[in-house]
């Protein structure tokens, strides 16, 4: 016998444990339940390139909640009144770390009014820093931004005759990501260019909540096509689901 290394029929119909250890392993929750986990002052990674691949149902639920003083790590901050732009408008965001906020004029205004702190990173440095956070690295050297304003407060180092700047890893308390499909274990696949920052963010937060278009049975996503293995995903909400 092979013990009970995960055997799917058992998980889908969990038995009462003889020793009290058994628990239902379903990761499926509602947006409301998901957002209740987030506390004010949290650092949250939010997937998406603009609104594409952004977990809009989770963001809408956050906007309905009382949480504030959030530190958001996301490439952009939505558009005025759309996506993360709603949280900015409602002054729920204290600080934003990302690569391109100019596309939302309300972000520019909030920054000027000193209502919002901003930390800017080149897009490749940002995505790599998130990956490094998830991969347990202490930081890395990138040639990008050497000699520019973006490197002003960063360590510069010459390695093999080339100049690099040091970048620390990025981690967060929560990651809110968007995927196309999840199976019941939490394995994820994405939709075309909506993949973007989501797979890295799934690796770099204490609690990862994935919003998906569709939930399927285990086995419907093949072992070779899974992009985010289930160990990275703590909770799943279905888009628009309550």
């Amino acid at each position: 016998m092979f013990g009970s290394v995960f055997y799917i029929s058992q998980m889908l119909h969990p038995q009462k444990s003889k020793r009290g250890k058994g628990k239902k392993m379903s990761k499926l929750i509602t947006c409301e339940e998901a957002v209740k986990k987030v506390t004010s002052g949290s650092r949250i990674m939010v997937g998406g390139f603009g609104l594409v691949g952004s977990p809009l149902s989770l963001i809408a639920a956050l906007a309905q909640s009382e949480v504030k003083d959030l530190e958001i790590i996301s490439n952009n901050l939505g558009e005025p009144g759309r996506g993360l732009g709603v949280l900015v408008r409602q002054k729920q965001v204290k600080k934003a770390i990302g690569s391109y906020f100019t596309s939302n004029p309300e972000v520019v205004k909030a920054f000027q009014d000193k209502e919002l702190e901003v930390e800017l990173l080149p897009q490749g440095t940002m995505s790599e820093a998130i990956r490094a956070g998830g991969a347990g690295l202490g930081g890395f050297y990138t040639p990008v931004s050497v000699g520019t304003k973006m490197a002003e407060n960063k360590e510069e180092r010459t390695l093999n005759g080339k100049k690099y700047v040091f970048q620390e890893p990025l981690k967060a308390n929560f990651a809110l990501i968007k995927a196309k499909k999840a199976d019941r274990l939490g394995n994820l696949i994405y939709n075309q260019s909506a993949r973007n920052f989501n797979p890295m963010m799934a690796t770099a937060a204490d609690v990862v909540i994935a919003e998906v278009d569709e939930m399927v049975e285990v086995g419907e996503i093949s072992s070779e096509e899974i992009v985010t293995p289930h160990l990275y995903v703590d909770f799943i909400v279905v888009k628009g689901g309550n």
């Binding site: 391109y100 897009q123 990008v144 520019t148 989501n198 992009v227």
Partner: protein, 223 residues
């Protein structure tokens, strides 16, 4: 053909079969329309696509498929999708053959500014620095002067620099320059443009390349 279209068409002539090409926003985007029919390139978009195709008809727009300018696109057969870290690993690792970029300013050594404006809050950088650092070859496309007639090719940058890395080719409506160790070399004049006009409208010093072609010779190449 207006000035921007001319620049895009001239830039397209720089592309070679099999090139992996990243097109910036503005004039660079127009380049796709002028790639010669016998030159086959692959368009890379830094949000995670290799093999970008033409814009879709309005009824075929897929909200999950956009380019780095956040505009709807299509993909061609053989395309692939990947995450942002993988996409920028490609760029930084030197796997993109050519990036065609817009600029705000170019200095006498061929370094550019294209991401921020002095005196304004710096709230966006995007992938500009990554592309400039990592692409094997950088082609800059720009109008030679601003709307106010101010030269974009300057002795020293007054806008924040994007990278210490020099670009390879500068293509404007008036001229084409290559960038060498010692600075800018004028390679071509556009049809109907005189050397004097370029000298007058270029703040930065430049040399005339040995292989220099005047407007007439360039015109002959287009025919």
């Amino acid at each position: 053909m207006n000035a921007k279209q001319y620049i895009a068409a001239r830039a397209a002539k720089e592309l070679k079969n099999g090139d992996i090409v990243n097109l910036g926003i503005g004039i660079p985007t127009l380049v796709a329309d002028y790639i010669p029919s016998d030159v086959h390139v692959f368009l890379h978009s830094e949000n995670g696509i290799l093999g970008v195709g033409p814009s879709p008809d309005p009824e075929h727009i897929d909200p999950n498929l956009v380019n780095a300018g956040k505009l709807p696109v299509t993909v061609l057969e053989g395309s692939s999708f990947f995450d942002s870290a993988s996409s920028f690993a490609m760029i930084r690792g030197g796997h993109v053959s050519v990036s065609i970029l817009g600029v705000l300013q170019i200095d006498a050594m061929g370094r550019i500014a294209n991401w921020a404006v002095p005196g304004k809050n710096v709230l966006g950088v995007g992938g500009a620095m990554d592309l400039l650092e990592g692409s094997k070859r950088i082609i800059v496309t720009t109008l030679h002067t601003s709307n106010q007639g101010v030269s974009k090719i300057v002795k020293e940058l007054t806008y924040p620099i994007t990278s210490e890395r020099k670009v390879d080719v500068i293509i404007t409506d008036l001229a084409v320059f290559t960038v060498k160790e010692d600075g800018l070399h004028l390679l071509e004049l556009s049809p109907g443009v005189s050397l004097e006009e370029v000298q007058q409208k270029t703040d930065a010093p430049f040399r005339v390349a040995e292989s220099f072609k005047n407007g007439k010779e360039v015109m002959a190449q287009w025919l």
